[in-house]
Amino acid sequence: MSDTVHPALTQGRRLPNLWDAAAILCVFALLIGVSRVARGTFAPISAPGALEVNLDPVNLPNYAARTTMRMFAALVASLIFTFTYGTAAAKSRRASLVLIPILDILQSVPILGFLTFTVVFFMGLFPGNVLGLELASIFAIFTSQAWNMAFSLYQSLKTVPADLREAADSFHLSTWQRYWRLEVPFAVPGLVWNTMMSMSGGWFFVVASEAVAVGDNSWKLPGIGSYVALALQRRDILAVFYAIGTMLLVILAYDQLLFRPLVAWSQKFRFETTAGATADDPWLLRMMRRTRLLSLGADALGDAATALGGVPLRFLPGHRGTMVDQRRSRPVDIIWLLILAVVLVWAVTRIVTFVSGELQFSDLWQVLMLGSFTLIRVIVLIASATLVWVPIGVWLGLRPIWARRAQPVAQFLAAFPANLLFPPFVLFIVYFGLSPDVWLTPLMILGTQWYILFNVVAGAAAYPGDLQEAAKNFRVGGLLWWRKVMIPGILPYYVTGAITASGGSWNASIVAEVASWGNTKLTAHGLGAYIAQATEQGDMARVVFGVAVMSGFVLLFNRLLWRPLYAYSERHLKLG
């Protein structure tokens, strides 16, 4: 936060050079593009072309820009949420009693199921204006990004090393200064990584949220997602491939211009006392450091941020830093818990009356059955993805050259919105008349399997050389090598990847268990299809019910399998 100053930049001539020229061109092009794209956002729905999507590939750059803009709007919203919600949860014990469990639940809710209602809600806020639809789409992306970012900040704020805290206190840093000089910088590496992971996941949601149908109404926000939706309606496979190509370019730009430079920059804030092996700077970061004008601008920005973070603001008069041992006032605690209890009771009665009015007991059985189908799908998918990617990941990870090449590719693939790849699969199933119950299933893991791959590659790459040598020395091979040598060593990494993959698969089931090609409709038996169909019929009660049950499944799955496994591997198998 506090300094973007690079020593190499503080000396020498400060005249513009060729790098600057290139950079200026890029910046201006970007500004022009943004202003053009933004014009469409505030148009009324009735305006000509406001909600019209055209399959002519000439329009694709414009659609791609609209889609990207939504991503960034959601990112800004997520950051604002992170810094308020995460900070509140970390700083106030009472607030954290409520905020943290809420975050935990929200993380397991398949938010895609609620898309239609957020659309209706935001349309109500801005009747007859495209902005309502835009906000609904942005909100969908936001919900896919914000939770783990806030959680990451919360955890970092909670684990600031005690000696740095004491140093900050003993040098009289104010609350505000401590936040920006110590706590936020400490949180940066985790936050940047989580933000980039969220962005990667967000592409899936932006594509899914652009074309929405509620009951008899359907809207298409200009963007790559709606372009593909239209192509599906018109049975135009060529247009689908155009869209896939465009998205590839967009993700490539995102990966090269944002993901890599940001992650490399954030390494500076890593809390380590030894200089580890540092990877090469990505080309963009190198270029930024070479251009004099850009770096001057960055300097000025950095100075301003430094000055802002240095303002000796004090929020609590006579604040005593670590010395205040949060005194627990019993009466206030009791009142706080009472308020929470009242809110809880109110919420339960609301839900019960709502659900009991619309649903019968048979619905419960049906939903649980369908949920089990989807559960079986998720388990089979994770198991097969594991069987495929763990050996490959280990092979790659143990060869440093290959690991360096494979890692970015896997991260790239994880960011690519898999729902764009559905149509070719659907066409394939329709053409050969295959069973949707079986063949729609792989779509659920299309986008999320890569998380398993790149985590396993990272784990194998970090595997200690002496342990490998010891295994070789004692001629440990075959299955024994996997069981006793490699798998325990990479398990913490694998679990991290598998949690992400399984969570993503649940979410994807809502869009993957139902597919269409023109007038042909494919439906698999599962909870995702149930939610999707209820949405199409505008049956709010069933959507809420389906989403709630799915959240329950996800939550149980996490609590009963992933969390214990992760805790175990952290305790026993952490190397070093």
Partner: protein, 434 residues
């Protein structure tokens, strides 16, 4: 030195007590009835073993911790929170890894709202004074440990504190680096170049205290209190090989190994299970006994000489000696350590026999070990949860001490084959033993 030291008191600590409350009405006393007066122009050491509460006292003085009872007055005003004019140097350096050397040094000035130009000027002066010139734009992780602690010193000196607090500032450094930093600091102090009026430092290194300080407060443990106060009469620069210097180091060793009165009553009544065990390995014990048995010691050694020969710090050697004494394998006396008859038998024994001797010593002299074994024998399944023992220990000592004690017990019990332990289930058992 008395002529230099003015009589004006900068800091006064009166009847200071620090205790942590447990859920029950028992409390864990870390510091008890500590008094301290610090005058201008002196360097004072708080010398003691780990766990004697000396670092706690330093944090109380720094205003980072509020004492449970007693009063701390800084310049005749009660201390409430980090006081103006007090700066601290940390054992772990506590540098912000994302700030450069210069930015780290400036942070205290920035917090006070000092203007940028003045900030840069003063930071540069402090950086040059402490010998960091040329490293201004480096990040802490690019520096060696010695250089990092110089940054810690510069960061504290730049605010021109009246009182400089140092929490074991050299203990994370290697021997040569630490000595280099000590002499640099003392040279600056004797030449009057340090912008501070007094220094209060925590250390467990006896020689360091005698080398640097004008006054030494020796702490005893459980609860931490000042057991004696010594004035160091030598002028700077001091010579470690000077016989008077050596004598003083020897005397302090003797002071620190003298068994405090309360512990003696404990030893007389070994039915008490609430005896903190120090984390000492069985291999260390065997190694020390073997070294003692051989020439040149032949069963008896002077502790400072032994520490020097084995390259041990007091903090490592004393727990080892005390544990041997607890098990009746050795005796500590006026700065010496002697093997007992039992100890000699242990040294000459074969591995299996050693285990039996060790088991016998544990059962005879460590009530907790006896209790665990007894409970296991009484149970039909010969298993017992560690939780109940931990709870019982925590009634008498801090959770950290209880954890250490339990871990030590597990390691000793496993070696002696008195009982086994299942880490996952946190259970003692007799399974691996039978």
């Amino acid at each position: 030195m008395d002529t230099v030291v003015s009589q004006h008191a900068l800091l006064e600590v009166r009847a200071c007590k620090q205790a942590y409350h447990k859920e029950a009405n028992t409390e864990l006393v870390v510091l008890e009835d500590v008094n301290l007066t610090l005058r201008e122009g002196e360097i004072v050491a708080l010398l003691g073993r780990s766990g004697s509460g000396k670092s706690t006292l330093l944090r109380i003085v720094a205003g980072l911790l509020e004492p449970t009872a007693g009063e701390v007055r800084w310049r005749d005003r009660p201390v409430r929170g980090p006081a103006e004019g007090v700066a601290m140097v940390f054992q772990s350096f506590a540098l912000f890894p994302w700030l450069t050397v210069r930015e780290n040094v400036e942070i205290g000035l920035e917090a006070r709202g000092v203007a940028r130009s003045e900030r840069e000027e003063r930071a540069e002066a402090a950086i040059d004074l402490i010998g960091l010139g040329g490293f201004e734009n480096a990040y802490p992780k690019e520096l060696s440990g010695g250089m990092r602690q110089r940054v810690g010193l510069a960061r504290a000196l730049v605010v021109h504190p009246d009182l400089l607090l140092m929490d074991e500032p050299f203990s994370a450094l290697d021997v040569l680096t630490a000595e280099n930093l000590r002499t640099d600091l003392i040279d600056l102090w004797s030449e009057g170049k340090l912008p501070v009026r007094s220094v209060l430092m925590v250390t467990h290194n006896i020689e360091e205290a005698v080398l640097m300080c004008d006054r030494i407060l020796v702490f005893s443990s459980n609860p931490g209190r000042v057991s004696s106060e010594l004035r160091v009469p030598f002028a700077h620069p001091r010579n470690r090989l000077d016989p008077a210097f050596r004598q003083m180091v020897d005397d302090i060793y003797a002071l620190m190994t003298r068994r405090p009165v309360p512990s003696r009553t404990l030893a007389a009544a070994p039915s008490n299970i609430a005896m903190p065990l120090q984390r000492v390995g069985t291999n260390q014990m065997a190694g020390l006994m073997e070294a003692l048995e051989q020439p040149p010691y032949n069963g008896r050694a002077d502790l400072p000489a032994l520490a020097a020969a084995l390259q041990y710090e007091v903090d490592e050697l004393l727990p080892l000696g005390e544990t041997l004494q607890l098990l009746h394998f050795a005796l500590l006396e006026e700065g010496d350590i002697m093997l007992t008859e039992e100890g000699r038998r242990f040294v000459s024994a074969e591995p299996e026999e050693r285990k039996q001797l060790f088991a016998a010593a544990l059962l005879a002299h460590v009530p907790l070990a006896r209790m665990v074994r007894q409970v296991l024998e009484e149970r039909w399944n010969h298993r017992a949860s560690a939780v109940r023992f931990r709870d019982e220990l925590e009634d008498h000592m801090s959770p950290e001490y209880a954890e250490d004690t339990l871990r030590t017990l597990v390691a000793w019990g496993r070696y002696a084959e008195l009982f086994g332990y299942d880490e996952e289930a946190e259970q003692f058992s007799l399974e691996e033993v039978e």
